[in-house]
């Protein structure tokens, strides 16, 4: 199952801001995960897209910048 939808060339996470399990699973298999600065950490999962410096928040969810560059 994919967790991404493409909108205007951007990869948007389909789980919104409340799909912790999917965000963890995605980040655990992502070689680009890098923890954001302490003040911007979002949840208690150490490795999660929600805590990654390459997620760019949108109104409903986030875009993965690394996937945009691919």
């Amino acid at each position: 199952m994919t967790n991404w939808t493409i909108k205007d060339g951007k990869s948007i996470f389909t789980g919104g801001k409340d799909s912790y399990k999917a965000a963890v699973q995605t980040a655990e298999s992502c070689p680009s995960f890098s923890e954001d600065c302490e003040d911007e950490l979002f949840c208690s999962d150490a490795v999660s897209c929600y805590n990654c410096r390459y997620r760019r928040w949108t109104t409903e969810s986030f875009e993965c910048i690394k996937r945009r560059q691919k």
Binding site: Y20, E38, D39, E40, R56
Partner: protein
Amino acid sequence: MKLFVCIDDTDNYDSIGTGELLENMMGEAAIKGLAKIGFTVRYQLYIHDDIPYTSHNSSMCCTAEVKDREVFTGFCEDYLENNSAEGSDPGLCILTDASEIDYTSLIEFGKSAQSEVLTKEAACKMAEKFGKDIHLSEHGGTGSGIIGALAGAALRAGKEEGRIKGKLQPLSGKTDWTASEFASVFGVQRFVDEEGNEITDNISIRFVHPTKLLYSKGLITSVIINEGGLLMLKPKIKKNREKR
């Protein structure tokens, strides 16, 4: 002279964040004897596709007390020129902190930056109204960081609610505190519950997870949560409550 100092859009995805850059800049200013510094507040600005923020569109503002405003401003400008990340659009705002200034229109600008897309032109026009009390400057890229920088300084001047940068760590060997004890050790001036209701009783609280402080109603504020009947300092980050 007291000042609000705010910077924005100084980072890229691989650099240090704007908050860290601000702290480094102010730390160096303090070491050079140019300023005495206060704490930093993070303000969340509007999340919108048309706004070119890096990751979270937040703005960071701290306070400073300086003897020579011109020298301090020159130092900040040089620091941003030399230390902002490649590809960023840095902006700097230095605003006088004085009770005789009427910040009303500026605060409205700051609040609107939290709910709508604003332009650089609107920021410059607003800054002009405050003459010598505002320094607003661009330091590379598109310079669009002046919008967030002005908004952050405005929100701080208006004592608007934001998160204080950094966190408090529990002390080893002490988990149980009274509110008054906690307040005097950590400099907290106010306690609220999760709904924002003020707690004035000298309650017993547990401090076992790192916690963040809020700047709210112009006071350093701790948020208390009720976990199965136990009153605790709110953990720093949201707990993952989704079932696995």
